[in-house]
Symmetry: C2
Subunit: 169 residues, 2 copies
C-alpha cells in the first residue's frame, strides 16, 4: 500500500497515516539513528558533565547569564535543589556564580570558558557526525533528506523545553 495515490491524497490527506504505516516505521527508524548521533556526540564529555548538567549548559548558551531562580524555573527544578546542583557545577568549573550589579540578593549564573567549550564540543561533534552520515549520500539523496526533514520539522514544531528535559537534554 502506497501512502498517496494522487487521487486519494488530494481527497483526504490523512487517511493513509496510521500508527502502523510505513512512514511511521521509517520515522521511528530514523529517530533511532538520530538518537545514536546525539548519544555519540555526548559520549566524549560525559566524564566531565552529567546529562542534567549539560542541559544547564544548553539553556545558558541559548539565553545567556540568568538568575538562579530564573534558571531553576526554566529547568523545572526546585530552587533549593538547584542551589546545590549549581554548587556541583561550579565545583566542576562549568558555571560561575556572580553578584548582580543592580540587586545584591540576586546571584547570576553564567557559563565559564570550560562550560562553553564543552557545549561547543558537543554541538560541533553532532554537526560533524551528521555531515559525515550525509556525505555517504549522493547530492540528490541529500536533497531528499533535506526536503523530508524540513517537512517533518515543520509539522512537528519545536519541542517545548520542559519536554526534552525528560531526557535530560
Amino acid at each position: 500500500m502506497t501512502l498517496s495515490s494522487p487521487s486519494a491524497a488530494a481527497a483526504e490527506p490523512n487517511a493513509a497515516v496510521g500508527p502502523g504505516s510505513e512512514v511511521v516505521d521509517k520515522t521511528l527508524t530514523a529517530s533511532r539513528a538520530l538518537l545514536g548521533v546525539i548519544a555519540r556526540s555526548l559520549a566524549p564529555v560525559m566524564d566531565a558533565v552529567t546529562l542534567p548538567q549539560f542541559r544547564v549548559l544548553v539553556v545558558l548558551w541559548n539565553f545567556g547569564p540568568l538568575r538562579m531562580g530564573e534558571l531553576a524555573l526554566r529547568l523545572g527544578a526546585n530552587q533549593s535543589s538547584f542551589s546545590r546542583f549549581a554548587d556541583r557545577m561550579v565545583a566542576g568549573g562549568l558555571i560561575a556564580r556572580s553578584a548582580s550589579t543592580e540587586n545584591r540578593r540576586e546571584v547570576i549564573i553564567s557559563l565559564t570558558k570550560e562550560g562553553s567549550r564543552i557545549y561547543a564540543e558537543v554541538t560541533e561533534a553532532r554537526r560533524q557526525e551528521i555531515s559525515e552520515v550525509l556525505s555517504r549520500l549522493s547530492g540528490s539523496e541529500q536533497e531528499t533528506v533535506l526536503a523530508g526533514f524540513e517537512a517533518f520539522a515543520r509539522a512537528a514544531g519545536e519541542p517545548r523545553a520542559d519536554e526534552t528535559l525528560i531526557l535530560g537534554m
Copy 2:
C-alpha cells in the same frame, strides 16, 4: 547555495555537505523534533519507571528473558550494581527473577505483564504521536518525509546498543 547542482553532484557527491550546511541544520532541527516526540512518549510512564529502567524493558522486549550477567553486560553495568538495580525493578513489578531450569546458579530475568505493558504503552504513544504529526502533512509531503527518513536511516545505520545507553534509552 543548493546542495546539488546536478553536475557537481555527479562529479563529487560529498562536496557540498559540511558541518555548516543547510542539510545539517535541517537534520538538527528534525532531530530536536524527534527528541520531543520521544520525550513526550516517555513522559506518562516516568512515575513508574526511570530512564535506565526503561532501557532494561527495551532490551528484554527485544531479546527475551536473559541471565542476570548477560543482561548486565548488555547494559554495560557492573554485575553487582545490576543485582541491586534489578531488586528495585522487581520491587516495582517490572521484571521477575526466576531460577534457570538447567543451571541452578543462573537467575533468569524476564518482563512481567506490567513491564511489558509499560513498554507497549510507550511504543504505542510514540507511533501515535508520529502519525499525528504526519497527518498534518499532505500525502505527497508524507512521501517526501518517507523518502528522506529512509535515506538518512540507511546512511546512518542502526546505533549500537551501548551508544543509546548514554541517554538512558
